[in-house]
Symmetry: C2
Subunit: 403 residues, 2 copies
Amino acid sequence: MADYASHFGHNNIPYGIASSKAHSSPQCVTRIGNDIIFLADLADKKLFEHIPAPLASVFRETTLNSFAALGRSVHREVRAILQGTVMDQRDGCSEPVENENLHKPVHIGDFTDFSASKDHVLNASEAITGIRALPPAFQNYPVSYAGRCSSIVVSGTPVSRPLGQFIEDYTAPQKRVIFGPSRALDYELEVGIVIGKPVEPRQRPKASDADEHIFGLVLVNDWSARDIQALEMNPLGPFNGKNFATSISPWVITLDALEGFPVAAPAHTEPVAAFLSDPRSVNYAVNLEVELIRNGTSTTTCKVGFQTMYWTFRHMLAHHAIGGCGLRTGDLIASGTVSGEGDTEHGCLLELSRRRRKPAQLNDGSELRYLEDGDIVRFKGRAGIEADGVGFGECVGAIRSAE
Amino acid sequence: MADYASHFGHNNIPYGIASSKAHSSPQCVTRIGNDIIFLADLADKKLFEHIPAPLASVFRETTLNSFAALGRSVHREVRAILQGTVMDQRDGCSEPVENENLHKPVHIGDFTDFSASKDHVLNASEAITGIRALPPAFQNYPVSYAGRCSSIVVSGTPVSRPLGQFIEDYTAPQKRVIFGPSRALDYELEVGIVIGKPVEPRQRPKASDADEHIFGLVLVNDWSARDIQALEMNPLGPFNGKNFATSISPWVITLDALEGFPVAAPAHTEPVAAFLSDPRSVNYAVNLEVELIRNGTSTTTCKVGFQTMYWTFRHMLAHHAIGGCGLRTGDLIASGTVSGEGDTEHGCLLELSRRRRKPAQLNDGSELRYLEDGDIVRFKGRAGIEADGVGFGECVGAIRSAE
């Protein structure tokens, strides 16, 4: 297992859910270096006593939802305490990460996936249709669809190749629909936010007020079966092509940790509606990387910065809520594939291999079109430079044959 | 309030969640005529003693999920007892329906909406494009999208007109996108199934085995803002055009109640994949009706039979699970708009008014294009004839102005 100690410095203070031999019930933890710190144990030492929230019980829950719901001012107080005193007080409250099981960090009541990268939609459009075209609404708002909550799994969970119906050969004169294991299994490199303080139905926060509702960020792999997806997309969007598995990283990285790494989002080329207007239009300087391991040999297939995203999470949240839709604590809102302009910045294989027509070369000598059984896909993310100590760790999944 | 006593005869035995002054905590109930019967109270009388399930505590839960998860053999035993002895034993366990608050009957972890009616997709296609065309995959499987769980409300909850961005006038040379309250608010007459016994990930039940996982059926109004939806649909499907509200009826009508009303589903015109092949391809003879009340005057805008659906719930469930996706107890899977061939069988206003071009006449003298503030939409459903005593009651919602 890769060592991510440098991702979890004192500037980070991520939140997750862990269990171990000594802590058999999954509960809330943070991580410093390779130490997992059990927050309820710290609460029992009265470390959070002046905070008016029942943290000892909240931290014993099996998801982060109750903690996330407390809102950013409580999160900031907890963070300050953890950054200030935890090094001295963690005796008896911490265990090495290799002893731990890391669980899905939140209960997710609704999962929304956006398509917020302009480069991704242009690249994907070109791979599919030959034309670099934006979706009709792309300049007006980030487009999106609802995903499948029951299929969201934590990093490390194997991903089985889905079965489905798809067109055998799009280049054949007769577009025959066949049934079988997907032949076009892909990853999608994404980042997601977890909702903290809920948005009530019809509350409609503006983009400029959205941060208050963001608990933190996770890495997301929106596994996609391109052949199954291609047949079903028109007119209702992706369904079985996506709903078999979505992986998320075990650590929620708070906005407070990321606020040291703001970077201006790309300027909008067309005016936007007032509720999307955002004087502080920021992304975070998160460097993302995809590693594909085939036959034991690793190849880096993508390096891209999250700052490339045309629409920010603040835009996504505001657009999501504008109709009157509420957002509940724990809801996952993902960015869609993160891609840049360059050839090394493709966040999915549909783009990288131009829908199979231009296979990439892997370091084991094989050609990369789509994922093969046994492939391991690892996402990593880090804000700033190594010395900053703010990373996401990894989001990893190994492909199993259809079963 | 309409009187639905005749919907709830001894052949029905629906399940719901109710609370009252005397039963202040929402809990599991059934209904006979206009009597609401509290099932935990019956359990306390040892009526279910021989059934190996902790029914007294299950029936005190605030949703039907735990009961639904017990599976059809337990449901059948409970049903037999309720049909056999409840008339004599319900003293002290029942209250008149007018004393009750009826709550959302299940916790819904994922909501999927299909598009299973061939007449609906043909009619909608014609209203939008002028051409009666099926979606590319329609002959291969029922197409579908994931909906929004947090916006599902029980019948009776008012529905606020959503805000959003949409094209002001599709007939204008310049397609200007504006922001404001939807001007094309619609209903969609649907029926949904609630999952009982869960489908494990990669379990993949065939259509012919799907009934085992169906707890029962509800009426669904998939409220839709056609203008918001039209701009966002390409390529990811409906989102803000649908996610502001979905209403469901408070009573879950079991498959056991509906099994007396089987009717052959329409024959398929093309062969289907083996897992969708279903020797017992049945719908249920449920007569659905839409009543629109404007300015206090009622107009019946649709009468259609559920037997028209091209794809059955058995097909929908099998298609949903074939990729490997699990289904959890309480999941809602809706049929999509139920429409027939005739002019009086349009399950939504997009079809009925041909996207505004052919307004219908309401009994208050006004023209019906889309819904106006103050309109009340009531769905009703009944299996067989009145004497059969198996109905759904109603699914009703009043339109409020955007707020």
